[in-house]
């Protein structure tokens, strides 16, 4: 199966694919992601446009054809199983009782049973924060514990 690829200056790229029976499939991919598909029924036939897709639609169609399409997952439901324990990400709001508190003073471990194993602040991750680590509003606490422990922790974090 041969694919011929050419540049279209100012527009994008053009791919021509030979299918069985002499039919040719021509795909024009624009710089902005727009995608046009033409079909030519042979060497001498003129192309007829069969599809005109936006960038998003083209990506979806591509992933269906690739067999890589899957429904995207709701991040709120995302948990990582670790035996009985699960990992969760919890954001600290400015009015949360944990904001501006040192980890040692919050007694999270004793009160709820979950452990804070890492903190994400802006784009850096602080692994294994020490007892004198001060929680700031906006921090994402990465916690490990059972579902019950997390439920207790949720009450603890929320104002």
């Amino acid at each position: 199966m041969s694919i011929f690829e050419t540049d279209i200056p100012g527009v994008g790229r053009r791919f021509e694919m030979e299918l069985t029976g002499g039919t040719r499939l021509v795909t024009v991919v624009h710089h902005d992601g727009r995608c046009e598909l033409f079909r030519r029924d042979g060497e001498d036939a003129d192309g007829e446009k069969i599809l005109d897709l936006s960038g998003d639609q083209a990506n979806k169609l591509g992933s269906i054809l690739e067999g890589a399409y899957f429904e995207s997952v709701d991040v709120d439901e995302l948990t990582v199983p670790l035996g009985d324990a699960i990992l969760e990400w919890v954001e600290v709001t400015p009015d949360s009782p944990l904001a501006e508190e040192a980890l040692a003073d919050t007694d999270i471990r004793a009160e709820t049973g979950v452990s804070v194993i890492a903190v994400q602040r802006d784009d850096e991750t602080i692994p294994n924060p020490g007892p004198d680590f001060v929680i700031e509003p906006g921090d994402l606490l990465v916690t490990v514990g059972t579902r019950e422990e997390h439920a207790a922790f949720a009450d603890h974090v929320e104002p």
Partner: protein, 397 residues
């Protein structure tokens, strides 16, 4: 602050936007419409009837200049030397047929009409260069992009793009330079020196440009790209080198960085805006009544140069092994002339006086505006109605 100036700019942009509806409705390239609307509201038309008209302010002038710079910047950015070299035999052959036929015909005709070698070279450039932008867009609209005729068309246009960069460098310098052969030779020397420096910059500057553009901020990215391009183009013009060619080289330098795609995305709106201002400006400084003086020139040029393009395009298609029908399509498509012819005429007008008599430059300019109006509309229509002409071909083509 200038209240009246802002109003004029508003009128200009609104007029440009208004005619885009008309172009879309008629399914034609908007370029002739931008020119016509500029012409309709200038001092020669509205002003003639004592109505308020739009004047050629410094803003419009510099906007038009930026239009030229961005048009050529994009040409350089999308100029793919590897592709040209990979298919050099066919592109070279069809490009040389195109150049040989049309430039020669243009030069001979220009010499007959104007009687001077410089004017003839300018005229030859104007009638030789087809419009990459309009032809590519029309090809997409009618679906030819999926057909074999797109090969010779895109190949020939790439070849023309390269020729026009060299042509503008040499002719721009010769016209902008002095009157005597010595002065012209000197300015061509300066131009070639500057371009050699730019070519070197293209060759070694990739990493510097890469660093220049590495930022996560879209705002800084655009500003740095624009700053680099406009500064170099402006410096070129200040020392008498075509700003268009300098912009082309800057585009080429950027084309080897990893930011080509981002540049296209972030600068395309700027290009579209200022290119429209450029076409509007062309109309704004043109007196439609000056066409009356060049109607005979126009008629002769259309009658001679239209078939010349059809024939050269036809044989260009032959080089790619196409049949009669598709070869004819290549010829019909190449008829469209546009932005580059106008850039050549504007360059000639700007540098008139020494190597090119001012009066000749004026005549050439008026001619070019009329010629582009005719050829851009005619060329687009020829592509859309090619079926009519294909029927006249001998059967089996």
């Amino acid at each position: 602050m200038a209240g009246a100036l802002l109003l004029e700019a508003g009128v200009m942009f609104a007029a440009i936007a208004a005619v885009s509806f008309l172009a879309a409705r008629l399914d034609l390239s908007p370029i002739p419409f931008y020119i016509l609307v500029g012409m309709a509201i200038n001092e020669f038309v509205l002003g003639r009837y004592g109505l308020p008209y739009v004047t050629e302010t410094a803003f419009v002038e510099i906007g038009a200049e930026l239009g030229i710079v961005f048009l050529l910047f994009f040409l350089g950015l999308e100029f793919n030397l590897e592709r040209l070299l990979a298919d050099r035999r066919r592109i070279g052959a069809s490009g040389l047929i195109d150049l040989g036929v049309n430039f020669t015909v243009g030069f001979a005709l220009g010499y007959l009409l104007f009687g001077g070698a410089v004017a003839a070279v300018v005229f030859a450039g104007i009638v030789y260069i087809s419009s990459s932008a309009v032809i590519t867009k029309t090809m997409l609209d009618v679906g030819w992009i999926a057909n074999p005729e797109s090969g010779p068309l895109l190949g020939t246009l790439v070849f023309e793009d390269l020729v026009i960069a060299i042509y503008l460098a040499v002719v721009g310098a010769a016209v902008l330079g002095g009157g005597s052969i010595g002065a012209a030779a000197q300015s061509v020397g300066v131009a070639l020196g500057f371009l050699l420096a730019l070519a070197l910059f293209v060759y070694v500057g990739t990493r510097a440009l890469e660093r220049l553009l590495s930022t996560t901020s879209a705002e800084y990215f655009v500003l740095r790209a624009v700053g680099t391009t406009v500064l170099i183009a402006g410096a070129a013009l200040a020392i008498g080198v075509s700003e268009a060619v300098a912009a082309f080289f800057v585009g080429m330098a950027f084309s080897s960085t990893s930011f080509v795609h981002d540049l296209e995305e972030s600068l395309a709106p700027l290009r579209d805006t200022f290119a429209a201002v450029f076409f509007f400006w062309i109309g704004l400084v043109t007196d439609p009544f000056s066409f009356l003086g060049v109607l005979d020139l126009l008629a002769i040029a259309v009658v001679v140069t239209l078939p010349a393009k059809v024939i050269s395009g036809f044989y260009g298609g032959r080089v790619y092994g196409l049949g009669d029908r598709r070869s004819l399509r290549v010829g019909l498509a190449m008829v469209t002339r546009g932005e580059f012819s106008l850039i050549i005429a504007a360059t000639a007008l700007a540098g008139a006086g020494a190597a090119l008599p001012a009066e000749t430059a004026q005549t050439l300019y008026a001619f070019t505006v009329g010629y582009v109006l005719v050829m851009s509309i005619l060329g687009t229509v020829l592509i859309q109605t090619s079926g009519v002409f294909e029927r006249y071909l001998p059967a089996g083509g």
